[in-house]
């Protein structure tokens, strides 16, 4: 069966890759890799999010 690249499948892929990218962002762009300058300029989250970020 050929893999048809339909607008629907595209939107589905975009949705999935976005989710994966977001996870990667949390895990990959780790706070531990940032410099002191960057860390003291990060905005503190003031509103508690319903989504729990599992790692830095």
């Amino acid at each position: 069966m050929t893999n048809k690249f339909t607008p629907h499948s595209l939107s589905f892929c975009v949705l999935n890759s976005c989710a994966a990218a977001t996870e990667h962002k949390i895990n990959g762009d780790s706070l531990f890799e940032l410099s002191l300058d960057q860390l003291i300029n990060i905005n503190v989250r003031t509103i508690t999010s319903h989504k729990q970020v599992v790692s830095l």
Partner: protein, 206 residues
Amino acid sequence: MIQISVITPRYKRCILFVAKTIDLCSSSLFYLIFLTILLFSSITAQAQEKNYSEPKIKTALIYNLLHFIDWPSNDLLICIYDPSEDYVSSFNAIPSSTKSGNALNIKFLNVSGDPSTQNDCHIIFISNEINTENLRDILSNAKNNRSVTIGETKQFIKQGGMINFIRRDVNIKFEINASAFEQANLKISSQVLRIADRVYTDSSYE
């Protein structure tokens, strides 16, 4: 009239073709708009991820700051007194080694426990949930063991603490007690002193 009746089927085909084209275009346009919205929502989501909780930022600051201190030993132990759940999860995510490859361990301490458990700690983080009396005892013990003390209370530096986190609007800054570092015979990089929100010496206490 005759002419019209003759060419009507052609018109019909033409109208059908135009209608199909419009339908195709509108559905393509719909998906294009849909994808644009998805992309924008993704960008917004990533931007929101840039905001981290105070414990996460402070933990990362502690991890970063330890690299600017000359330690008498290679392997380091960070101790945390009475941490909240947020601090436990933040410190559990800390890398198991320093940037130079030395082992980095974490130990959670209870203020009601044996005070000697903090003796082998290189860094002691004291959260703002610790009361003044306990803070004084912890700082006193830390002084004898040349541990670097880090806190997050208003009076922390005045009480002899070495590094204190303070909130400035939406950011976390830190202040340094340079005298306490000198007294403990520990050297902290001048880079940190430059970035610090305030550097205290014996004469600068108010």
